[in-house]
């Protein structure tokens, strides 16, 4: 029997690479784009954001971390336009440009109805020159997202859909689903005078085994955290003096 067991294990390893073992991260046939954060890359199938698949990012209401998460990758995603569909506020171009997203690449699309936002996303995915589509679709249903997922995979585009935390229990066709939340002040002692700087990234769905512990990441952009650290050091030195 041991001989047979070994044979079957060998057999399992020898079968085609497209067959994915549930205990391992999928070595994705999809191309990926590194996120710019090694700890996060290690937990994503293929080692980065999937190109040609839907990535869903869930956030608590009123809290935004999407640029922190996506900007390093978008800056390296190519030279084509990046479409923002249904953005919650006005994108502040000088700040985005300073963090690597060239001005000429930003296209901001606003639409009143949810249906026209979906339509705009799909049209953008069908455009040859577009590199990435960022969409804020709070009310999108699963079959609508599936349509976008199909378009993204057909034209191999980066597609990120930002949705509220409440959508967590809904079914989703996304290849990758993340829940992103900064450390809130209640989780750390209030004595941390300079505020807390940490981002919990919970991987809700990926092509691989479920992830128990959330990935940690800096919640602030490198420039901002540098400034705040310097400021904090200054405060301490004056307090000591």
């Amino acid at each position: 029997m041991p001989a047979l067991a070994r044979t079957s294990a060998d057999f399992l390893d020898a079968i085609h690479a497209d067959v994915w073992h549930a205990y391992a991260l999928s070595t994705a046939p999809l191309p990926v784009l590194a996120t710019g954060d090694a700890a996060l890359d290690a937990q994503l199938p293929g080692g980065g954001w999937p190109v040609g698949a839907l990535t869903e990012i869930l956030q608590p209401p009123g809290v935004h971390s999407e640029w922190r998460l996506l900007l390093p990758a978008l800056a390296r995603s190519g030279l084509g336009p990046v479409l923002l569909v249904g953005a919650p506020h006005l994108p502040f171009a000088p700040a985005l440009a300073a963090q690597g997203l060239a001005l000429q690449r930003m296209l901001w699309v606003t639409a009143q109805s949810a249906a026209s936002r979906l339509w705009a996303c799909e049209q953008a995915l069908r455009c040859a020159e577009v590199n990435a589509v960022l969409a804020w679709l709070p009310q999108a249903r699963s079959e609508q997202l599936r349509r976008l997922q199909m378009a993204a995979s057909e034209y191999s585009k980066l597609l990120f859909v930002m949705r509220p935390q409440a959508a967590q229990d809904e079914a989703s066709p996304a290849a990758l689903r993340l829940h992103v939340q900064p450390h809130s002040a209640t989780q750390v002692p209030a004595s941390a005078a300079q505020g807390v700087d940490g981002l919990h990234i919970q991987v809700l769905k990926r092509r691989g085994p479920p992830l128990e512990r959330p990935v940690q990441m800096q919640a602030r952009s490198p420039g901002l955290s540098l400034l705040l650290e310097a400021r904090h050091a200054l405060d301490r030195s004056t307090a000591r003096a």
Binding site: A128, P182, V196, G198, L227
Partner: protein
Amino acid sequence: MHWIAVQRAPEAGGSGVAAGDAPALVDVDQALAWWALRFTPLVARVEAALVLEVSGSERLFGGRDALLQQLFETGPPVALAHAQGATSLLALARLWAQAPQAPIHTLPLHSLAAARAHLPTLMRLGCNNWGQLRALPRGGLARRFGAGLVDALDQAYGTRPELYPWLTLPEVFDAPLELSAAVENASALLFGARRLLAQLLVWLRARQRGVLALELLWELDARRSNALHVDAHHQGGAQGRMELRTAQATQDMTHLQRLLSEQLAQVSLPAPVLYLRMRTLQTQALGGESLSLLPEDQRTGDSLHQLLERLSARLGRDQVRSVLLHADHRPECMQSWCAAVDAIKSGAAQAYSKRARGQFVPQEMPREALYPTWLLPQPLALDCDEDGPLYQGRLMLLAGPQRLEAGWWELGDPCAGMGMGGDTRAALRDYYIAQNPQAQCVWIYRERLSRRDGADRWYLHGVYA
């Protein structure tokens, strides 16, 4: 000299329906002439047929065989029958006699247009083909049947030059279309417009031009007009018009058709429409498309300007925006978002070229890297208590102040053209970076000199995402 005679194949009939599911043409004969003019400038209409003299342009197309192949394999607008010959009358006779290879002497007399009037007499003479007619004495023939027959025979045998009123291409495409039934719904006009577009495509190909702007006009049935419904489109009386513009010269009719349907969807007709008319306003010579050798450059999908035009047509011009930066210290005046369709048409079009996009070099930690990535269109006044401002809980100030004093030269003058609107007065602000209990970093400012009573007024202006 080498002549080709073409005529619509009998099975195509009068419908002018091309192969496949392409829309029918508006005026098939005209379209056929325009198509023929792509291959030679010497095209003339003889009765229902066209004659093309190709000896002058053979070399350009790489020989007679190559020319013929292009002529009939690259899709004439309708199915065609054709025949060739050294003279136009010979080619026509072979076409009409349906004997493409017949020697000239054996052609039947009815295939010579000038002889048709005298056909019964000639038949009684025992004269049945061209050879027999030519064998008759010239003088007698001319006396009995007139000089026209002799001249035509000479032309057919190539001993007399042939002259035709040559067809030319119009400078501007302008085609009318009478609708077969009155159309009451604007989006149903698209069916007629598709036929006009198919005709336009033939003209554009013949001229080797792309369309930049065209207009669609329609004539209303005034008797059934409903005066209550008159809208901005119809102030000019019983006519309606719509203008269509594209950023790049195009021959892509599916793109034009999509734009047309988006625009027609927004038109309401006060009365049924009987006539349509399409006219080009601006066209441009079209260079050939250059294809890349490398497979990775051949991506599928639409081009960017097509995407922008389609989005703008449905959502509205000002809903699809690209950004311009301004040298200003006030955050709300640092950038302006304006219609991307305009930007791509104007000088900013170069910004989309690969070279310009490749030039971006990130600076080593510029000042702007400390700005928030989201800006509020209007600063949001924050509630305060005795300890400071509140936004989703108490705000903890992390860094600041950054003092801003600008815009005093625009006192009372609204921030024109910045797209921000609102009351832009002199900005006397202290900016802080703050954090709320949800650990969301925000950008807030305190207005200085704002109130006589000295109480602080706090505003939320940006969100760090």
